[in-house]
């Protein structure tokens, strides 16, 4: 086992998450996947175990950790179920705008309930006409006295309908273009805020993905995050911190698939021997394990960079999201290969890992967009030399 020099507390966090994954999540993962039910059972266990607030300041009821703790928990949960893990990780994504740009009152009001696991959060940027091109969002927020009035539809919002707290980006001044967007905290139950239907998905089927519909929805100006016009900065800074979390999800999914594949290869006999004795298969396993370890090492390195307070982590967090998610896709596909026809069957757990892995190449910026970010940064660096 690689020694990543985790602190005693980080080991404690990882071990507890591992225990929950093994004892509580693994037995119900297939059922939540099959029935597409939201894992409130597991969210309750997470809350009781104090894991919901590992990345939140102690002052607001958290453990006082950061991206590293977020990654450790997400990885371990994903090893058992990437869909259940994302309910936790998407809450972190929805909470980061408050952590990074909230004032003390906003933090006091929202963070303790999120840290205790009483409430889930969500992050709402994507719209039908604005995916990779975030600047194309059409949802508006019109100022009226002490309120902003939101109109528009957000699409594919993870934890939509289940979460209580939503970080939502809307255009406050279309004229100003990229400087005309602002982020708001909107609570479930606010008048004029409704949910569309739950999406049917390929993978991460335990997680809920819904539309958010804003129709003359009045939000008090105290719920504006940062200043008016800072919306895209909030979004970009949030992604910089949260992308290692997607990478951790990918690493966990890949590891879970490898665990199953290795176990199976030692039991399955063909040609009178266990298939693990064939070099053709051993080489696959060796490659899978190596790729996972490289992805994990990069994930922890970037998470630590984020936690060190480094000012600009865009390139690194794009790299880790890209590399880990591509690794997960490759490893989970190979894991099915190791199981042969059995891997293709839903009675075996491995095909689910491949379905769950796919999303990590798409959300929080597709891998093409990550490459855009990386290339841009690399080319800029050359210019500075």
């Amino acid at each position: 086992m690689m020694d990543y020099l985790l602190t005693e507390q980080q080991i404690m966090v990882r071990d507890l998450a591992r225990k929950i994954a093994k004892e509580k999540i693994a037995p119900v993962a297939a059922e939540h996947d099959e029935k597409e039910t939201f894992p409130w059972d597991i969210m309750k266990v997470m809350a009781e175990s104090d894991l919901c607030g590992v990345y939140i300041e102690e002052k607001y009821g958290g453990l006082g950790g950061g991206a590293m703790e977020l990654c450790l928990v997400t990885e371990e949960l994903s090893r058992a179920c990437g869909g259940i893990a994302i309910c936790f990780a998407a809450t972190a994504l929805g909470t980061y705008p408050i952590i990074l740009f909230g004032n003390d009152e906003q933090k006091q009001k929202y963070l303790p309930d999120i840290a205790s696991g009483k409430k889930l959060a969500a992050f709402a940027l994507t719209e039908a006409g604005a995916g990779s091109d975030a600047g194309a969002i059409a949802t508006t927020a019109r100022k009226e006295g002490d309120y902003y009035v939101l109109n528009g539809v957000k699409q594919w919002i993870t934890n939509g309908g289940e979460a209580e707290v939503y970080s939502v980006i809307a255009m406050t001044d279309r004229e100003k273009g990229a400087r005309g967007a602002s982020f708001f905290i909107v609570e479930k139950g606010t008048h004029g805020f409704d949910f569309g239907k739950k999406e049917k998905k390929l993978g991460i089927r335990a997680s809920a993905t819904r539309e958010l519909v804003f129709n003359e929805c009045k939000v008090h100006k105290d719920n504006l995050l940062g200043r008016e016009g800072m919306g895209f900065i909030v979004a970009m800074k949030t992604f910089d911190k949260s992308r290692p979390g997607v990478a951790a999800q990918a690493v966990g999914i890949a590891q879970g698939a490898l665990d199953h594949a290795v176990k199976y290869s030692r039991e399955r006999k063909q040609f009178g021997k266990t298939i693990s004795s064939f070099q053709g298969l051993q080489f696959m396993i060796a490659d899978m394990a190596t790729q996972i370890e490289a992805a994990r090492a990069l994930t922890y390195a970037v998470a630590r960079m984020v936690d060190s307070g480094a000012r600009d982590v865009s390139k690194e967090s794009a790299m880790v999201k890209l590399f880990a998610s591509d690794t997960a896709m490759k490893v989970t596909t190979d894991a099915i290969q190791v199981l042969g026809g059995y891997g293709y069957m839903r009675d075996y757990p491995v095909e689910k890992y491949m379905r769950d892995a796919k999303i990590t190449q798409i959300y929080e910026g597709t891998n093409q967009i990550q490459r855009n970010i990386i290339a841009l940064e690399v080319l800029k660096e050359q210019l500075r030399k």
Binding site: M12, V45, E48, S49, L51
Partner: protein, 265 residues
């Protein structure tokens, strides 16, 4: 409500090896866990405390390593831990163990409720809980599957029986032993784990508990293990089939045969 939970550290395996010479358990190299039935005892204590407030103390008689079991209980939310550890306690049978734990509990002061698991998975005797109650001369309810009501000075429990259950009301303080039907034990919490690492363990030795030396350890243990074996499996018996008349006739015939067979021997 002052609750005391007695826990035992046991080897984490179903096929425990036994030393053929001493007929005692070989514990070396086997991972230790809290006796699974004691996990239900801890959980029940936590639930009662959540309702009524108070304090939970876990107590364990065992070697220094049993410290880990106590800390795990604290990570689940227990308040205080006591380890009864002394060479004089070594070799205790259920009689001496009950006596020692009872003396330790007396030393801790006033209590309202003692909770034990119904039995330990390594010894399977189910004697220590009742033994503690007898030594302390307090009421006991064994095989509790539900706490129906609990107040300052009385409690009502559902006790599992082979046919169903009995409802038993008892004054407090009392001792109960619990079965696995009673609850689902929680996992430890992060804050609990952090506290468990630092929390102090009170250690009680033979000197601390004013025990009669002759009643402790091997000396105080009247039990002698002669042989350990698995009892032969019960066979399924015979099922008579047919309508009532037919079955009754067959049964009468069978009984007659048995009487005759018995008369011959």
């Amino acid at each position: 409500m002052n609750i005391i939970v007695c826990i035992k550290q046991v080897p984490d395996t179903q096929d425990i090896r036994i030393n053929p010479e001493t007929n005692t358990l070989m514990r070396e190299g086997v991972q230790s866990i809290i006796n699974p039935f004691d996990m239900y005892a801890i959980e029940e204590a936590l639930r009662i405390k959540e309702k009524l407030g108070g304090k939970i103390t876990v107590i364990c008689m065992g070697p220094q390593q049993a410290d880990a079991a106590l800390r795990e209980a604290v990570s689940m939310g227990v308040d205080e831990m006591v380890l009864m550890c002394d060479r004089a306690f070594a070799g205790s049978d259920t009689w001496a163990t009950s006596y020692t734990l009872a003396k330790g509990i007396q030393k801790l002061g006033k209590f309202d409720l003692i909770i034990c698991g119904k039995q330990a998975i390594d010894g399977d005797t189910a004697q220590v809980g009742p033994g503690i109650a007898a030594t302390l001369d307090i009421p006991q309810v064994t095989y509790v599957k539900k706490t129906e009501e609990i107040k300052e000075d009385m409690a009502r429990f559902e006790k599992m029986t082979e046919e169903g259950f009995e409802v038993i009301e008892t004054p407090l303080p009392c001792l109960i032993t619990v079965v696995k039907e009673i609850n689902i034990p929680r996992l430890p919490s992060l804050k609990g784990k952090i506290r468990a690492k630092q929390a102090p363990v009170t250690t009680l030795t033979a000197k601390d508990i004013d025990a009669e030396p002759g009643k402790l350890g091997l000396k105080g243990s009247p039990t002698v293990v002669k042989k350990v074996f698995t009892p032969p499996k019960r066979t399924g018996g015979q099922i008579l089939q047919g309508d009532t008349n037919e079955v009754v006739n067959k049964l009468v015939e069978a009984l007659k045969d048995m009487v005759v067979a018995a008369g011959k021997t």
